[in-house]
Subunit: 372 residues, 2 copies
């Protein structure tokens, strides 16, 4: 494709792929798109190893990293240890989780494991420092305006900083803070998301920031025709996450892949019951337990809810993989409504190829609709 | 535009406009689009007058009617009178409404008015009979598969029957039942809507019905660029509702128009608290009172909830128009997330003109993104 964004990033096709899996990142980059590694869950030394692997695999082609450094979280500015934070998780919430496990024939562990506070953003700076020792070509951030150190690091080194937003007001704030690329993400997206649909939030953001920086469309995009629709509307390209979860390279657990292939677009739910911020995921008996209609348990703020839930969800996933029925009913995974269109496991490079073909066919369709 | 659908309907531009207001219907049809009159709220003789007026105004150009005949409703097949139905509205619901009014400085009426059971579908057949005495070129229906008499009447007279759906499974059922045109409507739409976004449900429906009948995209579409995006994806055109509410011709109350012009896309909510089925509308203290987190009051089934609520909402609207503050906090109106992009009152013909221009510009944008 010919576009300013392709020139800026040195890519053939402005398809950005968020993934936690280095193989997906490298495969998309090598196929002419732009892979972005989700780095939040890594320790600094792990991240270093992952990026070194990607450097080898892409031979100089461009890729990026994504850090979630939330702008607001429990204990911000208080210098708390993980156990100080853990002490803020009320007993009634621990009990609710234990009851839920027992109701699914899973014995709660006698020593409760509480997860790391990765969503507290405390490790963001260290992860960024590691990333900057690699030739990353994009730094992305979600859940609020990036911290100053991130924007400054980008400006100093000429690396664009991208921010994910779910509302035009947030896009305006991000541009004012110095962000170079906006990802306008609709409510149909996998992971954290706002309320407004991609079809509405993309033109709203484009209008609100009026060309100040390029805008990528995100949320529900799993085909080239959807991407083409977004480019017709004025987006500079697409930012995607869900579609890579069922590629051959992804490390998604087999029972999760099976759930995704079988799922329709109505099998996801936007719920704050996993991290404390609304995020879209597969509906399950876990997400049911945190519906607003359930009695009295509002999800806890970042990072407490995920400290409480992530270790349990991971344990549930291990049991589910072994065929445990209660665990299978509880198991969930971040994914967007596009899951309804994800019906086959494919290599990531094949997904990129199909995106391109489908994009071209869509462009033809629109131009054939014109008179003459 | 050149398309099979334009040829079939004898129109220049496949923009379908749903409106309760005859002036909007005629203006859109006269501007080269296709106006569709929402007929549910009319008595048969009123509908006859409205359609006669439109016949005069459009001079043979095509327009349609929309009847909501729900496939399922309380008392279906029981031959109940309005007051039999009204007796099924529990006292606790009447009390909730009265309490809500009092909390907003509105004295409940001593003799409660209970609304007509238009959403029971009982009047659908009579309304259809009236419509068929006019040269209507489309019969549309929502909330389930149209009754047999509607599909048969269409087939006999060669008038296409359209159905609104919010999920691919429903589209498949509608095609099997003999429907000629599918409106695939996303969760961002004004009025009754499903959970899946337009960007996802449109390709899902297209894939599921595999060309059996044309598909119009609906939900959140208030600009030509969005319509172009949907045509690129394979839709035959757009079906719209919200965008006409702030046109000069619309009979929307001035305080409602003011709320809509000021609203962002995050000021709507999908709630069953008005009709018993989830529908999107402006957030207000009325919709707050029916959130799933509110204590114990699940909305009643069709048509009971709207029999209870419509007369109250109409009274609230009258008071709101007079400047009553409590009423203004309660006032709500069906509208979609596209309301965030509706910022100016314009003549309906101007809206059509802008759609066309914006559509052409979007087609250019997409074709300029291609190499060479
Ligand atoms: C499994 C999963 C995990 C995600 N984790 C992150 C994350 O750590 N940081 C982030 O910025 N976005 C994250 N996202 C959101 C993606 O960056 C992207 O915006 C989103 O997936 C786009 O919508 P789609 O899933 O419909 O393609 C995640 C998405 C998924 C599906
Ligand atoms: C005020 C209002 C009333 C509506 N009433 C009906 C109706 O009676 N019958 C129907 O089929 N659709 C109805 N709809 C839905 C529209 O037909 C259309 O599908 C919807 O407005 C499309 O989404 P949009 O509002 O984002 O354009 C209504 C929509 C609005 C905004």
């Amino acid at each position: 494709m010919s576009s300013a964004l392709c020139d800026q990033f040195g890519i053939d096709f402005p398809l950005f792929a968020f993934s936690h899996c280095r193989d997906v990142v490298a495969a998309v980059t090598n196929a002419g798109g732009f892979g972005v590694l989700g780095a939040t869950a890594y320790s600094p030394s792990q991240l270093d190893r992952e990026l070194a692997w990607i450097d080898d695999a892409v031979g100089g082609k461009p890729y990026g990293v994504d850090l979630i450094v939330p702008a607001k979280f429990e204990g911000k500015g208080e210098k708390l240890s993980g156990s100080d934070l853990a002490a803020r998780i009320p007993q009634s919430y621990r009990d609710l989780v234990d009851d839920l496990l027992r109701a699914h024939d899973i014995e709660p562990e006698p020593e409760r494991r509480i997860g790391g506070a990765s969503l507290s953003g405390n490790t963001g700076r260290e992860l960024l420092d590691v990333a900057l020792t690699h030739p990353v070509k994009l730094i992305a951030n979600a859940l609020g305006v990036p911290p100053d150190y991130m924007i400054e690091a980008g400006k100093e080194r000429g690396i664009p900083v991208a921010a994910l937003v779910g509302a035009k007001e947030h896009a305006v704030k991000q541009v004012a803070a110095g962000v170079d690329l906006i990802v306008a993400q609709g409510t149909e997206a996998g992971g954290h998301c706002g309320e407004v649909s991609t079809l509405v939030v993309v033109p709203e953001v484009l209008e609100a920031i009026d060309g100040a920086v390029p805008v990528l469309a995100a949320g529900g995009i799993v085909t080239g025709r959807q991407m083409a629709g977004m480019v017709a509307m004025g987006a500079a390209g697409a930012w995607t996450g869900s579609v890579w979860l069922t590629t051959e390279e992804a490390e998604t657990a087999p029972h999760t892949v099976a759930k995704m292939l079988a799922a329709s677009s109505r099998d996801t739910v936007r719920s704050a019951g996993r991290t404390g911020k609304p995020s879209r995921q597969l509906k399950s008996e876990w997400t049911d337990a945190w519906l607003p209609s359930a009695e009295g348990h509002q999800p806890l703020p970042l990072p407490l809810q995920s400290m409480l839930c992530e270790p349990v969800i991971r344990r549930v996933d291990v049991l589910a993989a072994q065929g445990h029925q209660g665990a299978q009913a509880l198991a969930t995974y971040f994914v967007g409504q596009g899951v309804g269109l994800m019906n086959k496991v494919k290599p990531a490079r094949e997904v990129v190829r199909e995106f391109i073909e489908d994009y071209l066919a869509a462009a033809d369709r629109l131009s054939n609709s014109l008179p003459g």
